[in-house]
Symmetry: C2
Subunit: 454 residues, 2 copies
């Protein structure tokens, strides 16, 4: 390949999303309604999501058309460039070719708008006037603010208070795109008030913020809730990443031996990997790695079990690798990917050995991020640094074994609004952290008594 990056024209933008559910050799276990113990019906989801998205959540179809209106917005930043990381290759001095898909070129700077735009569109089409959502550090909230602005939907974002206070930039991004952002817990919801009564200085958590958003969403007929990861329809929308990458690699006649993505809720990993997993199921030999933090090692140390998606137990029970719905990563952890569970589809891939999960310590991930910034130039989101740490590990192993390998990874976002984490690393304020066994045991008490996966 002569070129540093491959763009391809807009005519190469996929016009359909890919649904891996159509190709699993063994089907996923269904979610369960916690009350009935049976799979939830579409009606169970109706107060939370618009019915067109509920249908997508449950569809068995292999391909789903991307609406024209969504394609029109995708074209603001898609197709995204596929890069050859030749400078990183040189720095690693290993017998590898490395490609990365640059999802950081979207206006909010990450892969999140791939689903945010689709969700805003479907809500609009269903007549929804107002969306409620939660956000941690703000990557999802800012992506949805961008999308809701375009489709003229009102958006309220419940942002975990500690992030709201310490990381104002993404909050300001949301406001710039016209959304309202509140530090959660608030006193505007029952869930929030309950927490504040117990602890007026609560730093908040993703679980509390979800509860606040869902509580307000189900209250009004014209309002719904939106989630940026975990669910099937989110994985579906993100498949545009991998589909585009396949076309780009095809254009230069290459194909990867190893595919790597970081995994928190699972959406950027799934987005790149799922279209290639279809090939793997069809017999192609590919190694596919999900990189996660040692401080939130859902896939590598959690059981595969039914668990709630949120702390307040308002969601259906999802079949997934989980650390228990009460789990909150230690404050020392600076690398994102803090969700207690993992997308059921990604979990199923790990269970079925289509995907291998590997944990990385935060010291290793930031070191990888610095190596990347000082070779390829771009500053990566702390989440993305997990994927880079994995790429470096695979490259070093290839060197030791003297094997040539072609590695592809998802550069899921830039780190320009996460510089405080780099500062902590560069000024030696971070330290290695691996979640202790007793913490996991304690957290997993939350799922005792829940139904088991058959």
């Amino acid at each position: 390949m002569a070129d540093k990056k491959i763009f391809l024209g807009e005519e190469f933008l996929p016009t359909q999303w890919y649904n891996l559910n159509a190709d699993f050799p063994n089907p996923m276990p269904p979610p369960l309604h916690p009350g009935t113990g049976k799979p939830p019906t579409p009606e169970d989801f109706a107060p939370i999501f618009p019915m067109n998205l509920v249908e997508q959540e449950m569809t068995p179809d292999r391909w789903v058309d991307i609406p024209e209106e969504v394609l029109g917005v995708y074209k603001i930043w898609r197709p995204t460039p596929l890069y050859r990381a030749d400078r990183l290759e040189k720095a690693l001095d290993a017998p590898v070719k490395i490609y990365f898909k640059n999802e950081g070129v979207s206006p909010p700077g990450s892969h999140k708008p791939n689903t945010a735009v689709a969700q805003a569109y479907y809500n609009k089409a269903f007549g929804v006037k107002r969306i409620m959502t939660e956000t941690g550090a703000g990557q999802w909230g800012s992506a949805l603010a961008f999308a809701c602005q375009i489709f003229e939907i009102e958006l309220k974002v419940f942002m975990v208070r500690v992030s709201f206070d310490q990381k104002p930039y993404r909050r300001i991004m949301m406001e710039t795109w016209g959304a309202e952002c509140f530090p959660s817990p608030t006193n505007t919801t029952e869930a929030g008030r309950k927490i504040l009564e117990m602890n007026p200085d609560s730093p908040g958590s993703l679980g509390i913020a979800i509860s606040e958003a869902v509580e307000l969403a189900v209250k009004r007929e014209d309002t719904r809730y939106a989630l940026g990861s975990v669910l099937n329809h989110v994985m579906l929308h993100q498949s545009v990443i991998g589909l585009e990458t396949k076309r780009q690699l095809e254009a230069i006649g290459d194909y990867p031996d190893v595919i790597i993505g970081c995994a928190g809720g699972g959406s950027n990993f799934a987005g790149l990997a799922f279209p290639f997993i279809a090939d793997k199921i069809a017999g192609k030999e590919i190694q596919i790695i999900a990189a996660e933090p040692t401080s939130c090692p859902t896939l590598t140390r959690g059981p595969y079990a039914y668990d709630f998606g949120d702390t307040n137990q308002t969601t259906p029970l999802l079949p997934m690798y989980t650390l228990g719905h009460d789990f909150i990563p230690a404050p020392i952890h600076a690398g994102g990917l803090r969700y207690h569970g993992m997308a059921p589809m990604v979990s199923h891939c790990v269970r079925e050995k289509l995907v291998e999960a590997r944990p990385y310590d935060q010291m290793e991930t930031f070191e990888a991020g610095i190596t990347f910034a000082r070779s390829e130039g771009f500053i990566s989101a702390p989440e993305t640094c997990h994927a880079i740490a994995s790429v470096i590990e695979v490259a070093k192993q290839a060197k030791e074994e003297g094997k040539e390998k072609t590695i592809l990874f998802n550069w899921s976002g830039h780190g320009l609004v996460d510089m405080a984490s780099y500062d902590a690393y560069l000024s030696n304020k971070l330290q290695p952290y691996s979640l202790p066994d007793e913490e996991i045991a304690r957290a997993l008490k939350a799922i005792e008594g829940l139904p088991k996966i058959a």
Copy 2:
């Protein structure tokens, strides 16, 4: 044009920079050595810049080859996409086509690396081991840190203290790329100590920071100084923007009626406009607008005069529009573009009526930035918002006059590390500000007694 954005392959990257000095109908007045009153010789510059850059500063050649090594680094983000701002057009409902060149896709997020990479390369080629520079909010410092990392040159950046304290993100970016960054004034230089003796709490200024950087640069044989705007060789390197844009417009068979850029020191404006000014000199009808802040109205309210490039009077006298080398914009000004003077080449264009300058109030510029973010999606640097305000003004006028117009502007950088300014605007902490006449009169006392332009 069917496509939202035009990329073109890397084979379209220009291989030469364009030097407008070769085509001016009337030549620019020369700079003057303040001691001799005569044009400085290359040797006068030798302690400050490497000789290969001094030669570029003075070259009469129309075209200068871009070294292979520089092209290799440019390819990390160049060619940059040319966008059709169809969503902004719709929002403005005016008979205009609007294009913008997206220079925000570079790793540091602005046009600055176009010259930073070239300067780092030439310093390296000349054997320089260490570069000293200054930076205000940090756009230049971070770009040079990125470039010096690639060419393995040590970099020390003197950052205006008030920005160092209030805007840590760009400082961390510099450190991520391996540079050292100091809050200026420091006690490591005579210039800094002098200021600190008078005022231990000095907030610093660009003029002081330049003096510190130059003082340390001339002290050591293996060390030089670098400047991110104003000078001829900077304008030369930035011409890659306009040259690329011409090829992209050619590919879709279009040509602009109006070209707009924001102007502080002048480099992003020159980068886009100069290759088109060559056409204007050859007879083409194009309106070319330099947009500046009403709080630092160098081109619209300063005299055309000889002045120093820095507060401490260490540079040659430059022929330029200036508010006096002591001038510092009021703290209320949040939009960047704070330099007291203007690149001599841009000044000459205004003097020769090749370029028209227009001032914009900060309330108008942030409003324009919000309009852009809510239509095109991207969040603009506060500097870039001046260009957008001008685009909107031109579009409104075209609507009033019922004239169709094609507008091209330079989207010189994103605002993701400048969100604090948006916050100030959105929370009503900003107010209109136009520099009072008496402030200008007071500032211009600094150039009394300097030679006049013949």
